[in-house]
């Protein structure tokens, strides 16, 4: 969590902060990043990777699914099971969090449904 600025941490709820600390400390988490709903990176340990632009595009496509399904809210959680890695994108109150885990690693920090 050291690589996340204080003003960004202040935007998180207490439960979100706790969950994020668990994610940051999880040895099976390869990288994680926080970003705004508009794709700007807010922190994490995935700096300069292509993770954030990819996830920003995924959020757009998820919004397209939501449109077709008549959903009024954005996607709460998107879980991608990959051949080499698993990726989870969580929609928080003020931002999105993307977590890249080793394949098969179960999510430890549950951020999306705690509040």
């Amino acid at each position: 969590m050291d690589n996340i600025q204080g003003d960004v941490v202040a935007m998180l709820t207490e439960a979100e902060r706790k969950g994020l600390a668990e994610i940051a400390a999880d040895p099976r988490v390869e990288s994680y990043a926080l970003f705004t709903r508009y794709g700007e990176e807010l922190g994490g340990n995935a700096a300069e990777s292509d993770l954030v632009p990819v996830c920003s595009n995924l959020i757009d496509i998820a919004a397209s699914f939501a449109d077709h399904l008549g959903e009024e809210m954005q996607c709460r959680e998107m879980a991608i099971e990959g051949e080499e890695r698993d990726v989870t994108i969580l929609g928080l109150k003020a931002m999105n969090v993307v977590v890249v885990r080793e394949k098969g690693a179960r999510a430890r920090g549950r951020l999306s449904h705690v509040d």
Binding site: D50, V54, D60, A66, L69, E71, Q74, R76, E81
Partner: protein, 179 residues
């Protein structure tokens, strides 16, 4: 067994499945609606294009996606890759543990679907040719997440009939909290 019959079996045997669509890179193979459908037929091609776009997008990060699961407010969605095709399942709102159980249930049907896909002739129209609608939907703005003000009545002059019951206000929830 036909592909349609296999999709129907998925919908009847696997709890939580509302609608199923099978799309090959070459075009939509089959979709199940009828009693299970919540999916407007016009949207099927758009959903298929979005599913393939998403699989392409995550290739570099995941080394190739096997499945993508979405949790929305009122529905869930599972995209399951089957070689050159994807199975799209529209689901009841499922949480993480329920989704894991459902994936196991769906896995049982993957082998028969693969065999059926191998034996069928290529679809006539490619997915990308079916509809040229843009993929990009509006992003959800932060104000979408805030409670909305009730709309003002059109005119204060409008008479209110005494016998008319006031319309019940629809309950709105965000993450389980009414607002």
């Amino acid at each position: 067994m036909s592909i349609e019959a296999t999709l129907e079996k998925i919908a009847t045997k696997v709890d939580g499945v509302l609608a199923a669509v099978l799309v090959h890179e070459g075009g939509v193979v089959a979709h199940l609606d009828g009693p299970y459908s919540v999916l407007p037929q016009d949207d099927i091609a758009d959903l298929a294009i979005s599913a393939f776009a998403m699989i392409d997008e995550v290739e570099t990060v995941t080394g190739g996606a096997k499945s993508i699961a979405f949790e929305f407010e009122n529905q869930s969605l599972l995209i399951r890759r089957i070689e050159q095709a994807v199975l799209l399942l529209i689901l009841e709102p499922l949480r993480e543990a329920q989704m894991r159980k459902l994936k196991v249930g769906v896995n049982v049907f993957l082998k028969p679907i693969k065999t059926l896909l191998e034996d069928m002739p290529p679809p006539e129209r490619a997915v990308s040719d079916m509809r040229a609608k843009t993929l990009r939907a509006k992003r959800f703005e932060p104000e979408d997440l805030l409670p909305r003000e009730p709309e003002e009545p059109l005119s204060l002059e409008q008479p209110v009939r005494a016998e008319e019951k006031p319309e019940k206000k629809k309950k709105r929830f965000y993450r389980g909290i009414e607002y």
